[in-house]
């Protein structure tokens, strides 16, 4: 998944229950990540953000971390990711269902028993037929982003994606109100099905919710409900009077009485408000020129957590000048990754990298050929001599290169760095900085002939294929399409064959497969389809009165579990 950037879709799915080392929480300062919620209830928690989440506020359409961070405590799925910080936070636990069922029929049938006595915030009691209604709506609404890629595994799903109007899931979802059960039939075994039920797309809505895009999330079953949603002003969540705790792991009661998220404040203003205690948490990344002040005066309010993510620039390997391997390697040797770390905020906030897989990931083996004195696997310094030799040998000097990036401060600075570097290496580089809303699809479309493009990727689930196959596999390149995540247009037949083999082996022998993925990572890195830049960390800044900060690898900061009393 891509980009935690301000405007873009975000979503931090940990789409796998068994998690190796995802999003671990290397704590910087004090504050415990794994402590269960404590602290006093009451008060108003005020979050501030530059803008409302992009896209629809409808829970079945929205695909942003910003809104998911709120939806998790207003709505429930049949199962949930355990609501705690640390690695425990990727565990699947029963939520509206009484237990997590074992699939039958070769992984194709799941039967859930629905808890009794749970009420929606509109007073209606939850029934199994609501579950069926929710999944019908997911398809009927016609624009749920992942309906066709995640939930079409349900029998009848593909037909629903094709013609949403006539959607019926009579074979796929069978609700029995009398027995309080819901049975799902899938077209094939799907090891990630439970994870897909634990995210907001599959959160249960009351029967009768209109099958059209909503302007505010409808009634849910969580401890809070949406009282106001105004993209220019604020979001307001208040307590759901019908909520009673049924599982502390899945849906613990929240601490604050009211949760506000105010929009329209610049990053600078957000920092100031949090420092002054006028706001309790800022959603956006703090601007670079305030970091120093935060780490000197407010260090106890700062929390830094590792993420499994890559920031990179993708070469287009099909058009000049970077269809030339030597040119790509040359640029890689010349790239001063410590400069890039500085742009991101310094060594405490980012780690330089040369390869595709992030540290701690399955299949990760430190490898960095593009450095002075390679061998240790770590990047130490750029090698300009080698870079210039390679580029001279490539014969690509003098070519015009457009460096494409988005207009957010940090990413634009990355772009400016590369414009300067490429000019130094003898190219004629120009910057093309587009709004973050359009830059990613723009780069993906091969029609736009982008030669060098900024991008970033955050894990969906901790599997090497999520990076290597999704971003650099042959099938991920779709010519002339805005939905083509393989921006490099990289398709190497022998490497693809290795990936296919590793994917197959992974079903039976994950460890063996991971050795293969390490080799693939190395082979891809040698082909240099990217300049891999850094692995970022996530910084949260909260007000002095916030107690009980928890960082879940799944949902990041657990807002409702913090206390402001």
């Amino acid at each position: 998944m891509r980009a935690r950037s301000l405007f873009l879709l975000i979503a931090a799915l940990g789409l796998t229950a068994t998690l190796a080392a995802c999003g671990g929480s290397s704590k910087s300062s004090k504050g415990t990540t794994s402590s269960t919620s404590g602290g006093a209830a009451g008060g108003t928690f005020i979050a501030v953000a530059q803008a409302a989440p992009s896209g629809s506020p409808d829970p079945q359409i929205d695909y942003t971390l910003q809104e998911w961070q709120l939806l998790i405590f207003t709505h429930d799925g049949l199962v949930a990711f355990k609501r705690v910080g640390g690695t425990e936070g990727t565990k699947i636990v029963p939520d509206l269902a009484t237990s997590v069922p074992e699939p039958t029929d070769g992984g194709k049938t799941y039967t859930f028993t629905i808890r009794k006595g749970i009420k929606f915030s509109n007073g209606n009691e939850l029934k199994p037929s609501d579950v069926k209604y929710t999944f019908l709506r997911l398809f009927k609404i016609g624009q749920s982003p992942n309906a066709g890629s995640w939930y079409n595994v349900i029998v009848g799903g593909d037909a629903c994606v094709k013609t949403p109007k006539t959607c019926n899931l009579d074979q796929g979802v069978i609700a029995n109100d009398a027995k309080s059960t819901v049975t799902f039939h899938l077209t094939r075994g799907d090891p990630e099905f439970l994870d897909k039920l634990g995210v907001p797309f599959a959160f249960i809505l009351p029967t009768g919710t209109p099958n059209t895009e909503l302007q505010i999330p409808p009634a849910g079953t969580g401890p809070y409900k949406w009282a106001q949603y105004n993209t220019n002003k604020q979001v307001k969540l208040v307590r759901n009077p019908f909520f009673k705790v049924w599982s502390k792991d899945a849906q613990p009661p929240g601490n604050p009485d009211v949760i506000l998220e105010k929009f329209g404040l610049s990053g600078e203003a957000q920092v100031t408000q949090v420092e002054n205690g006028q706001a309790d948490w800022m959603f956006d990344t703090p601007p670079a020129d305030r970091l120093n002040e935060m780490s000197t005066k407010y260090s106890s309010q700062v929390f830094v957590n590792s993420l499994t993510a890559d920031y990179y620039f993708a070469f287009n390997v099909r058009i000049p000048p970077f269809n030339n391997l030597k040119a790509r390697q040359g640029v890689n040797f010349a790239t001063d990754r410590s400069a890039l770390v500085k742009i991101y905020g310094g060594p405490k906030l980012a780690v330089p990298t040369c390869q595709v897989l992030p540290p701690g990931f399955p299949g990760y083996k430190a490898y960095c050929p593009y450095t002075k004195n390679p061998g240790s696997g770590k990047w130490t310094a750029p090698d300009m001599v080698k870079a210039k030799q390679l580029i001279a040998a490539s014969g690509t000097k003098g070519a015009v290169v457009k460096v494409n990036t988005d207009t957010t401060d940090v990413n634009k600075a990355f772009g400016e760095y590369f414009v300067s570097l490429l000019n130094k290496l003898g190219y004629k580089a120009q910057l093309q900085a587009l709004s973050a809303d359009i830059q990613y699809p723009y780069c993906q479309n091969s029609k736009n002939k982008v030669q060098f493009c900024y991008s970033s990727w955050y894990q969906d689930y901790p599997a090497a294929s999520d990076f290597l196959n999704v971003l650099l596999g042959c099938a991920s390149f779709v010519p002339n399409s805005n939905a083509s995540p393989n921006i490099s247009e990289f398709c190497n037949k022998p490497i693809q064959a290795q990936m296919d083999a590793a994917l197959k082996q992974g079903i039976t022998d994950p460890t063996g497969a991971n050795t293969k993925w390490a080799a693939i990572d190395k082979a891809v890195t040698d082909q240099a389809p990217w300049v891999a830049m850094i692995n970022p960390k996530y910084l949260n800044f909260v007000s002095k009165r916030v107690k009980g900060f928890q960082f879940s690898p799944q949902w990041y900061f657990l807002i409702d579990q913090a206390s402001v009393k």
């Binding site: 302007q215 220019n232 100031t272």
Partner: protein
Amino acid sequence: MATFIVRRVLWLVVVLFAVSVLVFLIFFATPGVDPARQMAGRNPTAETIKNIKHEFGLDRPLPVQYGLMMKHIFVSRDLISYGSHTKVIPEILSAAPVTLSLVFGAAVIWIVFSILTGLAAAVFRGTVIDPLLMILALIGISIPVFWLGEVVNLVTQSRLHGFFLFSWVPPLGYTPFTQDPLLWFEGLVFPWLTLSVLYIGFYARVLRANLIETENEDYVRTARAKGISERRVLLRHTLRTSMITFVSLFGLDFGVLVGGGALLTEVVFGLPGVGLLTYHSLTSLDLPVIMTTVIYGAFFITLASALVDLVYAWLDPRVRPA
């Protein structure tokens, strides 16, 4: 008078049509734009994109799309933004009070101060005060408003924020009047002042020039000859006549600012008004919002110029429409 109004209304329609068609064409001439893809999220299937295209009518021919969009703006008033997926018209209606608050307050400041400055300069003509005031006015005209805003922020938010003079200044942003009138006022004081600097300088110069010009008009001389006191002449005759230009200028500038022209001030002070909305929609190519804000802006500009003509004719019988 009736023909005048009919003509002006027709012209307004022509302007709005031309401006909206132009925006529409510019948008679709922009490469790499596929609103359906933008709306579809991270990794959509072709089917999803197709559904969205259909849902939003993006698979229809361009003229039909244009017609649909106009229908959604003017008839059913339920146009949906590609970016935030919320209805555009309420979005603009909730941004308008911010812009209105900013422009009204600034207008009050600039009217008061420019009249005072202009009068003072005209009255003290021949002394050192006149050129001094006029140089100050010129400096006001020469400062880029966004830069002035940044310097103001630097002083009031950071460098001298601890100082008692500025310690009351709230962080950047907007508080609705209905929520907290005091905070609304405090948050707008510096945006008002910053925005009005340019206009104070400009209007003071115009007023001074007009005052001096009117001084030589026959009826002013007559009034003076009749023995009316100098102060009365100034306030009753000279100033009144000079206000014609002043008022018409004011109408036009006000229209432009209300229509989104205060964009830079809104950007610098983080005020979520129409200008900021327009700016964001333009950079993210959110056509429905661009369309609505541009029509909104052009409407105010054209309306203001029509009103100004009307007022002008009313104030100055010499130019009454035939």
